[in-house]
Amino acid sequence: MKRIFIIAVSAFIISISVYVPFSYAVNLNIDPPRVELSIKPGEEKHGYIVISNLDTTGEAAHVRVYVQDLVYLPDGSNDFLPENSTPWSLSEWIKVGPTEFDIPAGKQEMVRFVMNVPTGASGGHYGVVFFETGVAPSKIKEVGASVNIRLGTIVLVSVEGTQTFKAKLKSISVTGPDEEGSLEASYTIFNEGNTLIRPKGTLKIIDAKKNQIDEIDVNKEKSGVLPQTSRRFSQKYTKTLPSGTYFAQVMLDYGGDVLLGGQTSFTVK
């Protein structure tokens, strides 16, 4: 029993020490980091995002809240653009508030949003609500930089009953091997629909005698393709293949009625 007590006390001390953060200059938390809504045209939905100042040094955080549009970059990350700069923008539909405030250390603020989908709207619309700390008054007397941070909540809105899923495989190729001996299979998807798609599936390697040599999962991360845009995906193949002619066959499920498929041949010397 004594042992249980010691273990319990130790566990308690550890849990407290893990929970209580150290002193930091800035320590922010947002919850949730992603909001997904399905709304009928002409209707609205409400929600909130909680931002917490977890700083324990007593410093209040000055936070500014704003909405931006987003696009995909070739590296899979997103770039952020001013409001209303993309066809899938939701900037005109969303109102957030409050938009600027101080959060005392250890406290939190609820930022409410109202999403108002106009009549006649269709498809998927996407954006990000950013929470950015204010730049602290500079203590730098000569040459120096101030650092601030921003966290974003991704917002995805589907206009209920209006989504169309349509995509095509524009190209597929295999290059290499590179200096490390890896092949790279690349394929480009064009999203012809009006909503974000996340094409995932398999890439098969088939030899000249039509024997399947290998099968690998592609786009396991479920990266998306925005409406009316193309996106190139690539997959490294690190196993060594004997010399010969092969086929790379890709089969993708993007949420449409049919699977997307395509194949190309390549030679290993």
């Binding site: 249980i4 730098i140 650092v147 925005l226």
Partner: protein
């Protein structure tokens, strides 16, 4: 019997503590100044006030989604109408504790700051369940030979967000 009771109370307290720390997307910056001090024209300087590094970002997510960290210069080094080119100001990831994700360019690779956000780190699925990932940085600045003397200040921004 009393010990048993204390044990149960401690268990409840531990659960409450765990419940209140649901860091959905959390970023901590341990030092928000990059002070190069006095510099001469033509001089290069690297700052690492904490020994091997200058400051550290700690990022964590419990949302089971890939997230990434980017850096950008919001305001380049400027004094009155004079600016130091953005590419003269550089950052290097010195270390990534606990993270299994991808460091853009690898650890110890130096990138120039840019107005366009540059990718620093992309999380691995193992990083997305609450692991606190410490990313330590050092910074360098090269003052051009013909730069007008003055007190130059810049603003840098770190961005953490999930992928769409």
């Amino acid at each position: 019997m009393k010990i048993k009771k204390i044990f149960y109370i401690l268990c409840v307290v531990m659960l409450l503590c765990a419940g209140s720390s649901d860091a959905a997307l959390q970023m901590t910056l341990d030092y928000n100044m990059i002070d190069f001090g006095a510099m001469n024209t033509g001089e290069s300087k690297e700052v690492t006030i904490k020994g091997a590094y200058h400051n550290q970002l700690t990022c964590s997510s419990t949302n089971n989604m890939t997230w990434y960290l980017k850096a950008q210069v919001v305001k380049p080094f400027s004094f009155m109408q004079y600016t130091i080119p953005e590419e003269n100001f550089k950052w290097t990831v010195v270390s990534v504790g606990a993270g299994k994700g991808i460091v853009n360019g690898g650890v110890n690779f130096t990138f120039p700051f840019s107005r366009t956000p540059v990718l620093i780190y992309t999380s691995d699925p193992d990083d997305n369940t609450g692991t606190a990932i410490d990313i330590a940085f050092r910074y360098s600045l090269q003052v051009p030979d013909n730069q007008v003397a003055g007190n130059y200040n810049a603003t840098v921004r770190f961005i953490m967000i999930e992928t769409l």
